[in-house]
């Protein structure tokens, strides 16, 4: 016995040490790849890249509120100066014209290569006449005063045209030299982080840096007085950091509360701290084994696996409860091992079958949760079965709960005897009503939008869209992507796409289109433009004809002739020429590349403020008709929702497979169809009732609700099996203890999950509101539907 005991304990310890080693050496990932399908389509990969690293993910919107506008403007400048020195930010904009002269020099120097007006006709006599006439007309306008000095060098107005090309968005208002909202109540800044939006740690540091710069900026502006100026931030990074903190806070607070409550219940029951400590061993071992298995099986562990795994194996706490209470009957649990362990084992296998259905999921997060739960439950059951009995000290006792059990037995007997067959009918009625409710809601039963799982509050989203419209920022959700093997290739593609999209812009169906080629045209476009620049002689001849009726002296335009001659000889503009201008950041934000895979992004703007959404279908149809290679529109919201809807569909299908698997397992183990039906009836009823209850309460079901239903079946199968086993064996005296252990296990489950329903995090609420009532109903239905008249009464 002693050698067997030390063998068991030492192999358990070795197992724990091995798992610990794996867990501490595992790679943990905390980004969106948990949501990326294991075998993504090309579009899905593009989408996730966008969400993870795209320019949209790195944008932080900053607003200063309160105080007077002049103070805010000074704070804005002081803040921006500090942030611009911080390498964590690739750009910081607040409306100040800092790099203006460098930008102007760049644009003016290269105007004939950058302007899309430069074509074969542009420098003919007729083309020059049209362009110069237009410039002269604009001299008559109020802005003409400011353009006057440009005319001798740029009579064709290329500079204005380039600026128009680049500033197609509505501009924020400027007050005291910095950006403010239209009503002037907010002073605005936009920062782009160097780190991708999915790097939540980096985003958190960046937000901290902004807060620091704000504090220092305020202190510098108003050194003595306390400032009324407040800082507000929004953007994907802000949401990610807030969501993580919120989930962490909710999970910590709720697990602390539920931990205390469960410990209190168990202490009250066991009256033994030792039993309490020992009871946690199966869960702890299970969690450790689960993480280790995921690390070994998947190579890396997702954050969500860590976050939700432990709730899924909450069932393993029940194992030790069953063990302690039920083994009160026999010394060191021998009787339990013989008579009740097979039931626990079957319950465990049932749960394993349920969770196994998650394994083939294309959603890596779900697949990992499946493996985690399976391994965790098996490990916890094994520890309960083999290790716990060896660890019990001689004379170990826990509080006697048979009195409590007997009382429950009496209540149950009373209800069942009084209810009789009526209970069965009532159960059928509940099932029918639940199904009717579900049928009535069947169109809207499932929510297919990923945003439903988002912990970002609607107020925060509203504030975000307010800031975006203040800033006139592009709707970064609709992007045309051109892919290719090199920069030149994607720039050419971007030019072709932009030309094709222009028909939609002209028709007012979409607003403007941003393009990296607006900052840096393809070499081909530049060559073509340079090719049409005439030599000085031809140009002079053409000009002579062009200006004849325009009242402009030819001698005034000598600088123009010189500039065109210089442009004919100038090398093409390259990304290096952009360096040092504010245009570089704009260009870089729209070009992504990894190794030799390049993408050009063309964000689309809504037609006007009233219709910010882009008609994606029209754009897609146009792109398809234009037969542009490697060019497609990506509607981020549509794609993410489609991806999620796919996951949901698959999860529903897999859960049904899991259910079939459970039925087959029970049939194989019990070899009695009617018994299996009797076992599954209460579980099915519990799931139906909860689903109908949620639907009736107007709650749409998400993938987390589905996971919750799997949990109901997993936990509930233990209840049903115990009741059924007890009823089949007709062991009345024992059933008091069994019932007591089930009720206590149920109380701890309901406490744990019930508390989740009070959190602010949608995913936790979904789990809580499904599992807490479901587990309770599974117990009640199992108790009532498996009841048979006790033998003593039956005999009498």
């Amino acid at each position: 016995m002693n050698t067997r005991r030390s063998w068991i304990i030492s192999s358990w310890l070795v197992g724990i040490a091995a798992a610990l080693w794996v867990v501490t050496h595992a790679h943990y990932i905390n980004d969106l790849s948990a949501f990326l399908p294991a075998k993504p389509t090309h579009l899905q990969k593009l989408m996730v890249d966008q969400l993870r690293d795209g320019p949209a993910s790195r944008l932080l919107l900053i607003a200063l509120q309160g105080g007077d506008s002049e103070t805010r403007a000074r704070v804005s400048r002081n803040m921006a100066r500090r942030l611009r020195d911080d390498a964590a930010f690739s750009s910081v904009e607040n409306g100040e014209a800092l790099t203006a002269s460098r930008d102007r020099d760049f644009l003016f120097t290269h105007r004939y290569l950058l302007s899309d007006a430069v074509d074969a006709r542009h420098f003919t006599a007729a083309g020059l006449k049209d362009a110069i006439a237009e410039t002269i007309e604009s001299l008559a306008s109020p802005a003409g005063l400011l353009l006057k000095s440009l005319v001798p060098r740029d009579p064709t107005g290329e500079m204005l045209r380039i600026i128009d090309q680049l500033s197609r968005t509505r501009s924020p208002r400027t007050q005291h030299g910095v950006w403010v909202s239209a009503d002037g109540a907010r002073t605005l800044l936009v920062a782009q982080t160097a780190a991708p939006g999915s790097d939540t740690d980096a985003q958190e540091r960046d937000l901290q840096a902004i807060r620091g710069a704000f504090g220092a900026g305020v202190a510098e502006t108003e050194p003595s007085s306390s400032s009324a100026v407040q800082l507000k931030m929004s953007g994907p990074g802000v949401f990610a950091v807030a969501a993580r903190a919120k989930i962490k806070r909710a999970a910590m607070r709720l697990s602390a509360i539920s931990g205390i409550l469960v410990v209190a219940v168990l202490l009250a029951v066991y009256r033994s701290p030792l039993a309490l400590g020992l009871g946690l061993l199966p869960v702890a071992t299970g969690a450790l084994a689960g993480i280790a298995a995921v690390a070994l099986g998947f190579g890396a562990v997702h954050g969500i696996t860590l976050g939700f795994g432990i709730t899924l194996i909450g069932e393993s706490v029940d194992y030790s409860i069953y063990f302690f209470i039920q083994s009160l009957q026999g010394p060191s649990g021998d009787a339990w091992r013989r008579r009740l362990w097979p039931t626990v084992r079957l319950g465990m296998l049932t749960s394993v079958c349920g969770f196994a259905s998650l394994l083939p999921s294309g959603f890596p997060g779900l697949a990992q949760l499946g493996l985690y739960s399976i391994t965790g439950l098996i490990a916890a059951a094994m520890v309960t079965r083999f290790v716990l009995p060896e660890l019990l000290p001689p004379g170990f006792r826990i509080g006697d709960v048979s009195g409590f059990g007997l009382r429950i037995v009496r209540v149950r007997d009373a209800i069942c005897r009084y209810g009789g067959l009526g209970l069965r009918y009532a159960a059928c009625a509940v099932a029918v009503v639940a199904m009717l409710v579900l049928y009535r809601h069947h169109d809207t039963l499932w929510n297919r939008e990923l945003s439903r799982l988002s912990p970002v509050s609607p107020e925060d989203l509203r504030y975000d869209s307010t800031l975006r419209s203040d800033l006139g920022a592009a709707n970064v959700l609709d992007v045309v992507i051109v892919e290719g093997a090199g920069l030149e290739e994607v720039l050419r593609g971007a030019e072709r796409a932009q030309a094709a999209l222009q028909t939609l812009v002209d028709a007012g169906i979409i607003g403007d289109v941003d393009s990296p080629a607006n900052y840096l045209p393809s070499l081909a476009a530049q060559e073509a433009r340079r090719g049409v620049l005439p030599d000085a002689r031809t140009l002079r001849d053409n000009l002579k004809v062009a200006v004849a009726d325009l009242g402009l002296g030819l001698e005034q335009l000598t600088p123009f002739v010189e500039d065109v001659a210089a442009a004919r000889e100038a090398p093409p503009v390259t990304p290096d020429d952009l360096r040092g201008t504010s245009l570089a950041a704009g260009f870089n934000a729209l070009i992504l590349h990894q190794a030799d895979h390049w993408s050009a992004l063309l964000p689309l703007h809504g037609a006007d403020g009233a219709t910010p959404d882009v008609d994606v279908a029209r754009v897609a149809a146009l792109l398809a008709a234009a037969k542009l290679p490697n060019t497609q529109i990506l509607d981020l919201k549509l794609e993410t929702d489609a991806l999620y809807a796919g996951y949901l569909q698959e999860a529903i299908r897999l859960s049904l497979c899991g259910f079939v698997l459970i039925v087959l397992l029970l049939l194989a183990a019990l070899r009695e169809t009617r018994r299996v039906a009797r076992l599954l009836a209460p579980l099915g009823l519990a799931v139906l009732t909860v689903a109908a209850g949620l639907a009736a309460a107007g709650q749409q079901l998400t993938i987390l609700h589905l996971v919750g239903m799997l949990l109901i079946v997993a936990v509930g199968s233990n209840y049903a099996l115990f009741f059924d086993g007890a009823a089949a064996a007709q062991r009345a005296p024992n059933s008091a203890l069994i019932l007591a252990s089930l009720v206590i296990a149920n109380i701890s489950t309901v406490i744990g999950f019930g508390l989740l329903s009070f959190s602010q995090v949608p995913v936790l609420v979904a789990l809580g509101t499904t599992v807490a009532p479901g587990a309770f109903l599974a117990l009640v239905f199992s108790a009532l539907l498996t009841w048979r008249a006790p033998p003593a009464t039956a005999d009498a």
Binding site: R104, E137, L139, K148, V151, S171, G551
Partner: protein
């Protein structure tokens, strides 16, 4: 991303003249006709709304013939001025308080007047005169008044040295509480002449 481009746009507009701070109001010592000026200012201040058509001629040294444009000028007391150019190319300039909006084609540019002090003399000369706000005029210009309440001429010269590099003088002719002619002489010799005519739909 796109936002940075604004800086360029703005700086292009700013490149015509370097920004300079307006010096705090030194009182103009326009003695003599001071009483008549006050009378004119007073009657101008009585007007809350005005709408006139304008014809503007610009004489630019680089152009052999003057550039003509016409449109409407709308004023609402105390600080809204709208210049609606109809020909040769539709364009609307609205100055409301400190905010300047230029609408051209589909584009709307909103500027902060404080950020473009070089625009100030062009706008404030007309707006403050229409408002009858002598103090506002004296903050920017040295005032010279001639004529009578019935028919007067007001000559404005920028106080600020920076502004004086762009604008040499602005001469406004008026009949009682109406402006009839605004001539702006720029320091480089170019000048513009705006003739105002009472509008039928006033």
């Amino acid at each position: 991303m796109k936002l940075r481009v604004l800086g360029v746009c703005v700086s292009l507009l700013a490149c015509a003249a370097a920004p300079g701070a307006t010096s705090p109001g030194a009182a103009a010592d326009a003695a003599g006709a001071a009483d008549a000026l006050d009378e004119v200012m007073h009657s101008l201040a009585q007007r809350r709304h005005g709408q006139v058509s304008f014809v503007e001629q610009q004489f630019l040294h680089m152009l052999k013939r003057p550039l003509e444009s016409y449109g409407e000028l709308i004023y609402d007391a105390p600080s809204r001025l709208e210049k609606r150019t109809i020909e040769p190319r539709p364009e609307t300039l609205v100055v409301d308080g400190e905010v300047v909006t230029v609408q051209r084609g589909r584009r709307n540019h909103v500027l902060d007047l404080k950020a473009y002090p070089q625009l100030l003399p062009f706008i404030e000369s007309i707006r403050a005169t229409l408002a009858g706000d002598r103090a506002a005029l004296e903050r920017l210009f040295r005032l010279e008044f001639a004529g009578s309440e019935m028919r007067w001429t007001l000559v404005l010269r920028p106080l600020d040295a920076q502004l004086a590099k762009t604008v040499a003088e602005i001469r406004i002719d008026g009949l009682r509480d109406e402006l009839s002619r605004v001539e702006i002489r720029q320091s480089d010799g170019d000048r513009s002449l705006m003739t105002l005519r009472a509008h039928s739909g006033r």
